[in-house]
């Protein structure tokens, strides 16, 4: 176990941090000991100040994470609660439907949305809207900046992420004794009141978990974005997040030094963001105090 942690976690972590202080390019060992101090970080900061493309990437990262996080967590919660009040059979079929994006390979899934949002009239969305007479010319949705590109990447990722929250919340809801819900129903509570007053307070721990997990996962996700950008469906600057920037710069551009500096910044944001979420939502309090017989 320790060896695994060492090989797959500690060594890459130390290497990432170390190499971000060198001028490493294309894995060329001659740069391995060429220490450049904070140069790579300075450069990123400079780019943030002066390079509109990099500025757009940072802004996109913030908007993408915040909105997709809300969509994922509350969408998942809404779906779990919604299907909780449906009959078992209908509920599970409906939930299965939402799992499809997660089951489908990323390329296939991205391709579906590629054709859906395509900028010409072959795009499903364009053709529907044109058929209905709402628009007369196809709209290049992903190229409208910033909100067109953001909407597309948030939509595509949000749809996948929702299912994660839904699974966690559904299984948590199934652990809540059914008598609590029956008691509230007998007392006259509506589904909305039961959700608000009974179920959601009992899901606090799971909400915290999904929120933290999704935050970290959105911070590092780039597969769908990579395809959507490479296929030219969305604007390159407003469809790229920091995680994708790291990948593009370090592995495609060969500028490992700069890519890894961005990766370190991303990791610091991830760790501090994770801690902050746990702190804000009272993780310690929740772990210390018995939570009763739920």
């Amino acid at each position: 176990m320790l060896v695994m942690v060492l090989i797959f976690y500690l060594i890459p972590l130390v290497m990432t941090v170390y190499l971000s202080f060198t001028s490493m390019k294309n894995w060329n060992v001659k740069y391995l000991f060429d220490l450049v101090g904070f140069y790579n970080y300075h450069r990123l900061f400079y780019m943030f100040q002066h390079d509109p493309s990099f500025k757009a990437i940072v802004l996109t990262t913030i908007v993408f994470i915040l909105i997709t996080l809300v969509v994922n967590v509350f969408g998942g919660l809404g779906l779990a609660l919604g299907t909780f009040f449906l009959s078992d059979i209908v509920g599970s079929k409906f939930r299965l439907l939402w799992l499809l994006p997660r089951i489908a390979p990323i390329a296939v899934y991205s391709l579906v949305w590629y054709y859906f949002f395509h900028e010409t009239s072959i795009g499903t969305l364009n053709s529907i809207l044109m058929e209905l007479g709402i628009i007369h010319q196809p709209i290049p949705w992903g190229q409208i900046i910033p909100w067109g590109a953001w909407s597309v990447i948030i939509f595509v990722n949000g749809l996948v992420g929702v299912s994660f929250g839904m699974i966690v919340f559904t299984s948590a809801l199934n652990q809540i004794p059914k008598e609590l819900v029956i008691a509230a129903r007998v007392d006259g509570a509506s589904a909305w009141t039961i959700s608000k007053r009974i179920l959601i307070p009992l899901l606090k721990w799971h909400l915290l978990y999904v929120l933290t997990w999704q935050f970290l996962s959105l911070l590092t996700t780039y597969c769908h974005l990579f395809l959507l950008v490479e296929w030219n469906l969305v604007n390159r600057d407003y469809g790229t997040t920091l995680a994708l920037y790291v990948y593009n710069t370090a592995f495609l551009g060969g500028e490992l030094d700069q890519g890894l500096a961005a990766a370190v910044i991303l990791s610091v944001i991830g760790v501090s963001g994770g801690f902050l979420t746990l702190k804000l939502l009272g993780f310690e309090k929740m772990m210390k105090r018995p939570r009763g017989d739920v």
């Binding site: 008598e179 609590l180 006259g188 007053r197 939570r291 017989d293 739920v294």
Partner: protein, 345 residues
């Protein structure tokens, strides 16, 4: 307070018939126990009265009003569960006031009602605590308070004592009965514990496999079971059963014969004879051999093997019995059951 009338209640879950044509009347202010083994359908029946389940067939009346299609909230019932179902994130006060808040009762009125019900149940000092800070007995009182605070017409209890330890259970059951009588509320009490049903209920409805086998006072159910199952389910130890043959006022069991009481003189053919362990004298009658003896202080349970079947007899503790002793049993009160249908003759 209402009178409950159940008419031909049938409930199916897919292919499974949980309840089959139940007819039952529960009088105003009556304490009715629904007694049966697990899976008999008694809780389903309770939930049908509460409105949680809708019957597949049949009607439910509260007094003369048909409530079959009414949702639970419009039936004004209080429900207490086996696990008490207290909301773990709410204090005792919040738990108890929850039903009143939903009814939008004024704050002053809420305080007055909570004070009244918590005083009655002696939990007025626990209002700030959370369920996990309470003992089982206290949680149970809070659950009852929550059910009573909205002044329901019917109090429905689903095995509310099962999670309490044995001593507390006996104490609480007396209190619960007293409370029900004091409030005069119609109560339906689901239990699988026959002692609980005998001790608390005005009448008992025995349910098995979704069918109502017998309804009667504890005395009737105990003394005159209408079905072999009822005799075997009620009483500790339960009723003894032996196969016999009745003919012209005589009952033959193996090699032994005993005279039949007058009401059974006309019975002829194969029967099952049932008798309570208390209602047997050791003297002359059915031949048997002592199999084991359990001393219980003032009395003892002697298990006697009769024609290969075990019969339990309760006799005073001062008599001595040894394993293998030949004894003769004389049942003082018997009930005959039809061999095929197992119903009382």
């Amino acid at each position: 307070m209402v009178r409950i009338r159940l008419e031909n209640i049938t409930k199916e879950f897919g292919d499974f018939k949980a309840l089959d044509g139940i007819d039952l009347e529960i009088e105003e202010g009556e304490f009715m126990a629904l007694l049966g083994p697990s899976g008999s359908g008694k809780s389903t029946l309770l939930y049908i009265i509460a409105g949680i389940y809708k019957p597949t067939k049949g009607r439910i009346y509260f007094d003369d009003g048909d409530v079959t299609d009414l949702p639970p909230k419009d039936r004004n019932v209080g429900l207490v569960f086996q696990n008490w179902a207290l909301y773990p994130h709410m204090s005792v006060f919040e738990n108890i006031t929850f039903p009143l808040e939903l009814r939008k009762v004024a704050k002053g009125e809420i305080r007055r009602k909570v004070a009244e019900v918590t005083e009655m149940l002696k939990i007025e000092n626990l209002l700030d605590r959370y369920p996990w800070q309470l003992s089982g007995g206290q949680q149970q009182r809070v659950a009852i308070a929550r059910a009573l605070v909205k002044e329901p017409d019917v109090l429905l209890l689903d095995e509310p004592l099962s999670n309490l330890d044995a001593l507390l259970r006996i104490e609480v059951r007396a209190e619960l009965k007293r409370l029900q009588k004091k409030l005069g509320i119609t109560a339906v009490y689901v239990t699988h514990d026959q002692a609980e049903a005998l001790a608390m209920a005005d009448r008992i409805a025995v349910i098995k496999d979704g069918r109502l086998l017998q309804v009667g006072t504890p005395e009737e159910i105990y003394e005159r079971p209408r079905h072999k199952f009822v005799g075997g389910f009620i009483g500790n130890p339960p009723m003894n059963f032996l196969n016999g043959f009745a003919d012209r006022g005589i009952l033959r069991i193996g090699k032994s014969t005993i005279p039949l009481p007058k009401e059974y003189e006309s019975v002829r053919g194969e029967v099952i004879v049932g008798f309570r362990p208390h209602d047997v004298e050791i003297g002359e009658g059915i031949e048997g051999e002592v199999y084991s003896v359990e001393h219980l202080g003032r009395e003892q349970i002697v298990t006697v093997s009769v024609e290969g079947e075990m019969v339990k007899v309760i006799v005073p503790g001062d008599r001595r019995f040894e394993f293998g002793d030949k004894v003769r049993l004389k049942p003082k009160k018997i009930v005959l059951f039809d061999k095929k249908t197992e119903t009382a003759i």
